[in-house]
């Protein structure tokens, strides 16, 4: 695609150390849709940067990029530059740590945080040209690019759970592009279903899914890029 070599419009200095990091931070924010709908905000966020990334994160503005994303900004917004000051004015606690991820992409990060009512974590990597890979959310391993509208559905590990979820999606006439199901906690009998869709779902789908008996919670990740004209 021609669009891979022209654009996107981003805040510099590096598409992988800055722009991709904004996208990882923003993806993490989307996990808290429940808290936001109740009027809560994020309280504390911890960033664990892989060793090669930690060695240069200040000069690349990686810290500002991650925090900007967590605050909901896009990679082209100038607020990225002052995100750390914005976070502190909002009373959001932020901490950066160095962590060695074994056999991993150099630009790998773990983001972990909480609001008043929920806590999540995400592991992902910025793989160049502002592209990202999300590799784990709340104990569920995955490999998604964030370019599809994506549902992260936590459900009880019971027979028929998947068919009810898929049934609700097909009732809304949405096509599934990719889907993974992983058992996350055998003891508690919990699983996570990751669904990448072809089209953006209406809000109704999420409330419909939440009403299903085996469904424990639903997070929706909007696509990080919208085909043409990424800004």
């Amino acid at each position: 695609m021609i669009l891979d070599v022209i654009g996107p419009i981003i805040i510099g200095p590096s598409s992988s150390h800055t722009a991709g990091m904004v996208r990882l931070g923003r993806t993490f924010r989307y996990l808290f849709n429940h808290s936001f709908s109740k009027g809560e905000s994020l309280k504390r966020v911890e960033f664990y940067l892989n060793k090669p990334l930690f060695s240069s994160y200040k000069g690349h503005g990686t810290d500002r990029a991650l925090v900007g994303g967590v605050l909901g900004y896009f990679e082209s917004q100038e607020e990225i530059r002052s995100s750390i000051e914005i976070a502190s004015s909002l009373g959001l606690d932020i901490v950066f740590y160095c962590k060695s991820f074994e056999n991993s992409h150099p630009n790998m990060v773990m983001i972990s945080g909480n609001s008043d009512s929920e806590a999540h974590y995400l592991i992902g990597a910025s793989t160049g040209g502002a592209s990202i890979e999300i590799l784990e959310i709340d104990g569920a391993p995955m490999n998604i690019s964030g370019t599809f509208p994506t549902l992260i559905i936590k459900n009880s590990d019971t027979p028929g759970a998947l068919s009810k979820i898929v049934g609700a999606i097909s009732m809304k006439k949405l096509n599934i592009s990719n889907m993974f199901l992983v058992r996350t906690n055998r003891l508690k009998g919990e699983a996570t279903c990751i669904v990448e869709l072809d089209d953006v779902p209406e809000g109704e789908l999420i409330s419909l899914l939440e009403k299903l008996e085996p469904v424990l919670s639903v997070s929706y990740l909007p696509p990080i890029t919208t085909a043409i004209g990424v800004t």
Binding site: I6, S14, S15, G59, T231
Partner: protein
């Protein structure tokens, strides 16, 4: 994708190269070519805007190593170059400095090489009166050049060195110049990016501390001058005997042969010099205190 194929299609069907690329894009993406044009136009206006922004405030970079060298060129009367080339160099450095200080830029093809194409675009607009419409079409042609290089080699310094970043930007920029000068000179359109890429073959990616500053910022200006040189040579009828598509492939092979220390790790080349290490240590001390 083969650039020769696109050129041959344009030649054999007497269709403008921009139209051929638009149609190819439409088939590949399933979206209208109008959207492609609108996208390209938005990138052009964003480049113009980014340069204006930079004029208003020259913020130093996070390390403090760059941030104000563009004004040296702005306030200088050239002894040897013409005003147009000097202006293009100044734009390229301004954009690269803007990027290094967390300004809003168009990655083209990457953030580190974001000055080369705007240098050419803005100089064409100011000194040759080229319209935004024509420039938007030329940028699509440059996009196809970049896309071919991406497919056959890489546009990432971490994968193939600076030849893949500044090299690709320079090849793209040279095709913009040729397309604006003569959109049906297919020989020159095929030669210019090959000449440009050959001249930067083997250029390593060796940023001090791994930051997109030294030597990246200044290399953007050299990219501009090579783009002008390649375009003028091609327009003068000098052909690249090695076809562009083969040059792109060779660049990829050279990139893969580069040791890791010369691929954006900040461990070789300029980054490994005593002065570079001293600068880096000083910055680390400053940022920790």
């Amino acid at each position: 994708m083969n650039f020769k194929r696109l050129i041959d299609t344009a030649l054999n069907t007497s269709t403008d190269l921009y139209e051929v690329i638009s149609n190819w894009y439409m088939l590949e993406s399933g979206t209208s070519s109008k959207e492609l044009y609108a996208f390209s136009e938005r990138m052009i206006t964003s480049m113009l805007k980014a340069y204006k922004e930079r004029q208003k405030a020259s913020i130093p970079s996070l390390t403090g190593w760059t941030g104000d060298i563009a004004q040296n060129l702005r306030n200088y009367t050239p002894r040897f170059l013409n005003e147009q080339l000097l202006y293009a160099l100044e734009v390229a450095i301004s954009m690269a400095e803007h990027n290094a200080s967390m300004g809003k830029i168009v990655a083209c093809p990457t953030a580190g090489a974001c000055g080369v194409v705007p240098g050419i675009i803005l100089s064409l607009k100011r000194f040759n009166g080229v319209s935004v419409e024509k420039l938007s079409k030329a940028l699509v042609v440059a996009g196809a050049v970049g896309e071919c290089i991406k497919g056959k080699a890489s546009i990432s310094g971490a994968v193939a060195g600076c030849q893949a970043e500044i090299g690709t930007a320079t090849a793209m920029a040279s095709s913009i110049l040729v397309y604006i000068a003569s959109n049906n000179n297919y020989r020159a359109l095929y030669s210019a990016p090959a000449l440009a890429l050959k001249s930067l073959m083997g250029l390593v990616c060796d940023p001090v501390g791994g930051y997109v500053e030294i030597p990246c910022v200044k290399r953007n200006a050299f990219g501009v001058s090579i783009a002008y040189t390649a375009a003028e040579m091609a327009l003068a009828g000098i052909e690249s005997l090695i076809p562009f598509d083969e040059v792109a492939e060779a660049m990829g092979k050279v990139g893969r042969a580069l040791p890791e220390s010369l691929r954006e790790t900040g461990e070789g080349g300029i980054a490994a010099t005593p002065t570079a290490k001293k600068l880096l240590n000083e910055f680390i001390d400053r940022s920790e205190s």
